[in-house]
Symmetry: C2
Subunit: 87 residues, 2 copies
């Protein structure tokens, strides 16, 4: 869960997730949406992958990234728990 919070704690990474909500994209397509370098985006994608918020699938010379929202449930559960204050 630590990894998920870490992954979410960056505006670029959150924006990547918002992009992938629309459709799966290759690393290159994602890079095009930002002003920062390819390697930096690659690093962000790696952190998202570690958190299991995205899945990477190789297709020929491209790597397609897609959302994996199952981990989001875990976070939502934690947040709900916090919201259910005792007193």
């Amino acid at each position: 869960m630590n990894n998920v919070f870490k992954a979410l704690n960056d505006p670029t990474r959150r924006e990547i997730l918002e992009l992938l909500r629309e459709r799966d994209m290759t690393a290159g397509e994602i890079v095009e949406q930002f002003k920062i370098s390819g390697p930096s985006i690659s690093h962000h994608l790696d952190l998202l992958k570690q958190a299991k918020l995205v899945i990477a699938e190789k297709e020929g010379q491209f790597i397609y990234y897609s959302l994996n929202t199952t981990v989001v449930d875990e976070i939502m559960k934690w947040l709900l728990q916090i919201k259910s204050k005792k007193k």
Copy 2:
């Protein structure tokens, strides 16, 4: 929202929120629950306060901290949006 994600991105701060779910506590009571120093906890409380996840109220020489979960809704909304994948 950035501040909220930042505040949530630390195990100690998340644990503080979990404690405050049980009951309001003074800074000193919170410090007792951890092995790290008072000033460090004070710093964590400050970040939680900046994110508006907690509210501080002075009562005499004590400062009582309590949960404020309204901000959590914002995060949940964002997460739900991510979960509602288009395709």
